[in-house]
């Protein structure tokens, strides 16, 4: 009887340390950020810093550029990663090549940023090559792709780093998938697109959308790459928040906290939405598969 009871609590016991760490750090961190951001200077109304924030032009510009960078990098990474995964799964029957995708994972983000800088800055290697080929006549003619207002350098860096991540996330899906359905679809006269839509898509879709969420939220909140390859105006959100956090005797701190709280709320809502959706989708499809 006792052992049975102990057995019942064991899974929770095993999870306890992790839950405590996450709850303390994330829970308390967010709580105290919210408290600080809700503080109001004298003679001002509630939500003062939130109202300030959403009227601040610097912030709005930063929001725009952050969404641009996150959306473009994430979509391109997922499309290229998906294409590479499905080709490689068919091309290499064994997964010895998996370590190839692991290799770039070992490179820290700012090292990747430096590589992009070395290759694509106006004095970089690609520019030198263009000169040697006679495509440009001087250093000034090379298009600015690093520390540029469109954040192309940052986007390159993220794409370079995240494609392997996408591959590693999608790979198990493809390995689990029964590719014989593909033959079925093809013999029944399905075009390439029909085959993809009916065989792979139901499996790939929920994982892709989760990967999209993880990457999008990560890029919105990551400081390391835009701090190196960004420009002073407009800054990306985390860089701006960090600036405000340490600026002028901490007066802008609540503003930085308000920005981060907004970002967290949006991220959490998106997460709840997407995770619920992908769970439902999976459930629906497993049921259908069992019916077959």
């Amino acid at each position: 009887m006792f052992s049975n009871k102990a057995h019942k609590f064991r899974p929770y016991l095993f999870l306890l340390p992790g839950l405590i760490i996450v709850a303390c750090l994330v829970g308390y961190g967010l709580f105290s950020a919210i408290v600080e951001s809700l503080s109001t200077p004298e003679n001002e109304g509630d939500f003062y810093y939130y109202i300030e924030l959403w009227q601040n032009n610097t912030f709005l510009q930063a929001l725009g550029i952050s969404i641009w960078v996150a959306a473009v990098s994430t979509v391109i990474s997922i499309l290229v990663g998906l294409y590479l995964t499905r080709t490689m799964v068919r091309l290499f029957r064994k997964d010895h090549w998996k370590f190839l995708a692991w290799l770039p994972m070992l490179i820290p983000h700012f090292v990747a940023a430096y590589l992009v800088f070395l290759l694509f800055s106006p004095s970089g290697w690609v520019s030198s090559m263009f000169y040697q080929l006679g495509w440009i006549g001087s250093i000034g003619e090379f298009p600015v792709m690093v520390n540029d207002p469109f954040y192309l350098g940052v986007i390159f860096t993220y794409i370079w780093k995240e494609i392997p991540f996408v591959i590693l996330m999608l790979l198990p899906v493809y390995q689990e998938m029964d590719l014989r359905y593909e033959d079925v679809s093809r013999t029944l006269g399905g075009s390439k697109w029909t085959v993809f839509k009916t065989v792979e898509f139901p499996w790939v879709w929920p994982v892709s959308i989760e990967v999209f969420l993880i990457l999008f939220v990560f890029i919105l909140g990551a400081f390391e790459v835009p701090a190196l390859l960004g420009v002073t105006y407009p800054k990306m959100l985390p860089v701006l928040a960090y600036d405000w956090f340490y600026q002028a005797a901490w007066v802008n701190r609540p503003l930085a906290q308000a920005m981060m709280v907004c970002l967290s709320i949006v991220s959490l809502f998106a997460a709840i939405l997407i995770l619920t959706f992908s769970r439902r989708w999976r459930k629906k499809w497993t049921v259908r598969r069992e019916e077959i």
């Binding site: 095993f14 430096y114 985390p238 906290q257």
Partner: protein
């Protein structure tokens, strides 16, 4: 036959693409660090020079930072295993109430911007005396690493066949013995992936270390960022190569430990 040849050709093409995208830039960076007079528009350096490495190693700050980085990374890996292994085991092997909920809670740190959490924790951690020292930095580095450690280890447990454990148990082994002699060796690939991933994530942290370390805890990224805007390209390149080498060294060390553990196990 023809189909087969086409396949080999495509495989070669893929590997080539991979090399161009990922391997060559790293070699390029290494070349940069030992080159001299490599200026626009030269496609290759005019000579070899290890001055940059000398500069990098003569800097007294770098030695301390290197040690800090490795100590923090190592500690973060160890704590991750202590926390993530039971959690992953539980998520993989048991069915219980609130499992989905708990699983979602545990991935929260990758769904909430870490910067938000670090900014919120700054003042509480000052009060607790956890800023400006290694322990606070180690604690905060658990944040971006723990969800990945749990995920990778859970996938490992999922793949592991339950039969081996049952066989061990049937043969009369105690739970702990089964764990150390059956599960751990079979989990080696996942353990390696998790350790490496966690180490690299910890190595890549700038902003968390900057906020919680308060500028007192100097890790390699702390020196790297100010250096980046300096003009000496070769020195930055040598720094960067160091970053790329650390995970490799870590992997070698880890592999040695794993091998010796397995060897000890095999001895009766």
């Amino acid at each position: 036959m023809n189909e087969n040849r086409k396949r080999v050709l495509l495989q070669g093409l893929f590997l080539l693409l991979f090399a161009i995208m990922f391997v060559i830039p790293i070699f390029f960076m290494f070349a940069k660090s030992i080159s001299f007079g490599w200026q626009w528009p030269n496609l290759s350096p005019s000579g070899i020079d290890i001055r940059a490495w000398e500069v990098a190693f003569r800097d007294p700050r770098i030695y301390q930072s290197l040690i800090n980085t490795v100590v923090i990374g190592g500690a973060v890996v160890i704590f991750n295993f202590l926390i993530a292994t039971p959690a992953a085991y539980s998520l993989s092997r048991y069915e219980f109430k609130g499992k989905t909920m708990i699983e979602s809670l545990l991935i929260l740190p990758i769904l909430v911007p870490v910067l938000a959490v670090a900014m919120g924790l700054h003042i509480p951690m000052i009060r607790l005396g956890l800023t400006d020292n290694l322990s606070g930095v180690i604690l905060i580095h658990l944040l971006p690493t723990l969800p990945y450690a749990i995920r990778v280890l859970k996938a490992g447990f999922d793949r592991l066949n339950n039969d081996w454990e049952e066989q061990g148990a049937v043969l009369g082994a105690r739970r702990a013995t089964v764990f150390w002699t059956v599960i751990i060796p079979l989990m080696a690939p996942s353990i390696r992936s998790a350790a490496l991933l966690v180490f690299v994530i910890s190595l890549s942290q700038y902003v968390l270390t900057a906020i919680i370390g308060g500028g007192r805890v100097s890790t390699l990224p702390m020196i790297y960022y100010p250096f980046f805007s300096s003009a000496d390209e070769a020195v930055i390149a040598s720094f960067t190569v160091m970053f790329a080498l650390l995970p490799v060294l870590f992997l070698i060390l880890f592999e040695t430990v794993c091998r010796s553990y397995l060897k000890i196990l095999k001895k009766p």
